[in-house]
């Protein structure tokens, strides 16, 4: 069984302006890291746009219309202090959400074992009705909704190891008992949500705030004592991963001290978890990660583990 890798040139055409940390070079760094021969067996694929119906699974239809109408024909527009759109951004966002839905299709039908989506813009801050924090559509939420509606899955777990809390994904999951959302993130940090007391309407949200300066030990402890056992209890039929690589010690937007080795450790355990609980069905999608080399190495670590599954 293979690992599928979705990406598209459009993701690099989503222009956020000179010096913006969520920049096209991020994907170039990822692709460059994957030129290594050990990734030759990756099945590379180009995604299609998410349909209106798929997006409506996680966003208000009027939000989708408004967002696409806000895309400028030339130049750039700021949606908030951080979130920039330019002429190709709408298509890139549609295709990013589409990539994660197609990954779910491929994994749910057994076409491939697992899949990774190297997409821009990222998604986990986007709420059902609002773009924020570099995110336009909540890719992982759209995919979770698609998994439940299209493939009739009854239990989907979303694990989010981006250094920022996935407020949008949490909002989406909050009242949906068929979804379990687990996030480790630095706190306090943008967007300010994700305290351990936020647990979801049916105890289906697990937040693990980590203090600035904390590293391998705290991270491994949090995953071993809280994340993995909660996923085991939930018995998901599919694991979705919001894979952000900005908890790395070199990342300029945060203050955690994770190392390359930590990302290897985590990737391997996520793959093991999927093997044990849901026949290896795992779909990971790129969120943040703003140190280009660390990002490339992080994605490579994630994919190495997925390909060895």
């Amino acid at each position: 069984m293979t690992t599928r890798f979705y990406t598209d040139a459009l993701f690099q055409a989503h222009d956020t302006g000179h010096g913006h940390p969520e920049c096209p070079q991020r994907l170039a760094a990822v692709l460059s890291a994957l030129e290594d021969p050990r990734f030759a067996a990756l099945e590379r694929s180009q995604p299609a746009e998410a349909s209106g119906e798929q997006l409506a699974g996680a966003h208000h239809p009027r939000y989708v219309e408004r967002l696409l109408a806000a895309i400028p024909e030339s130049g750039m527009r700021l949606l908030d202090a951080d979130t920039v759109v330019s002429p190709q951004s709408g298509q890139a966002a549609l295709r990013a959400a589409g990539a994660v839905c197609q990954s779910v299709d491929a994994v749910a039908t057994g076409e491939v074992r697992n899949a990774f989506c190297a997409v821009r813009p990222p998604g986990h801050h986007a709420t059902p009705a609002k773009a924020m924090g570099f995110c336009l559509f909540n890719n992982v939420a759209v995919a979770a909704a698609h998994a439940c509606s299209q493939h009739r899955l009854e239990r989907v777990a979303i694990i989010d190891f981006d250094v920022h809390h996935g407020n949008g994904t949490q909002d989406f999951c909050w009242s949906r008992p068929e979804l379990l959302y687990l996030s480790s993130h630095q706190s306090p940090l943008y967007p300010g949500t994700g305290s351990s007391g936020e647990r979801g309407a049916s105890n289906n949200v697990v937040n693990l705030p980590l203090a600035r300066g904390s590293g391998s030990e705290e991270m491994r402890e949090a995953y071993t004592s809280a994340v993995f056992p909660a996923v085991e209890r939930f018995q998901p039929q599919l694991i979705l991963v919001s894979a952000g690589f900005d908890a790395h010690r070199l990342d300029p937007l945060a203050g955690l001290e994770w190392t390359d080795e930590d990302y290897h450790w985590l990737a391997q355990r996520l793959v093991d978890l999927a093997d044990r609980l849901c026949d290896g069905r795992l779909v990971a999608t790129l969120e943040g990660g703003y140190h280009l080399d660390a990002l490339g190495r992080g994605v490579a670590a994630q994919l190495s583990a997925m390909m060895q599954a």
Binding site: G17, H18, G19, P21, P252, L253, Y290, H291
Partner: protein, 145 residues
């Protein structure tokens, strides 16, 4: 501000740095601080490895009144080896440390600067002034949005 996010210590540090040897005296150290207007100065061994950092506060501390003498013996104290009075385990950064993290560490710890190390060897120094300069350059060259 976005440009500042991309900056690393290597973009801002003074290199090669002014340093003093570990066999220098407190008087030598004071002369270097005075000459350059520094708050502190890295101390290196003969191979250029960082062994400590000496600050103005370390010098003042050497003159603290103690029960050993009625009056501190100023001239004798100035001849003490700097190695006995420096901070021996200074916090350091590397050239690839993001300046955002240096700034945060300065706020957390109150440090005025950090030695920059590669494999234990001192390659530079990054100070508050360096960070402020990079902030100014990053913001002044930014096109209005």
């Amino acid at each position: 501000m976005f440009q500042f996010v991309q900056k690393q210590v290597a973009d801002a540090m003074s290199a090669p740095p002014v340093s003093i040897r570990d066999d220098a005296t407190l008087a030598d150290a004071e002369a270097v601080l005075e000459q350059h207007g520094f708050n502190g100065c890295p101390v290196v061994d003969a191979e250029g490895r960082l062994v400590g950092i000496v600050t103005g506060l370390d010098l003042l501390r050497a003159f603290r009144v103690t029960p050993d003498a009625l009056v501190p013996q100023y001239r004798r104290i100035m001849a003490f080896p700097v190695a006995d009075h420096m901070c021996q385990a200074p916090l350091t950064v590397t050239p690839d440390t993001p300046l955002t993290r240096v700034l945060q560490r300065m706020l957390d710890l109150g440090n005025t600067g950090f030695p920059v190390l590669v494999d234990g060897r001192l390659v530079g120094v990054v100070t508050r002034r360096d960070v402020l300069r990079e902030l100014r350059l990053s913001t002044s060259s930014e096109a209005p949005q």
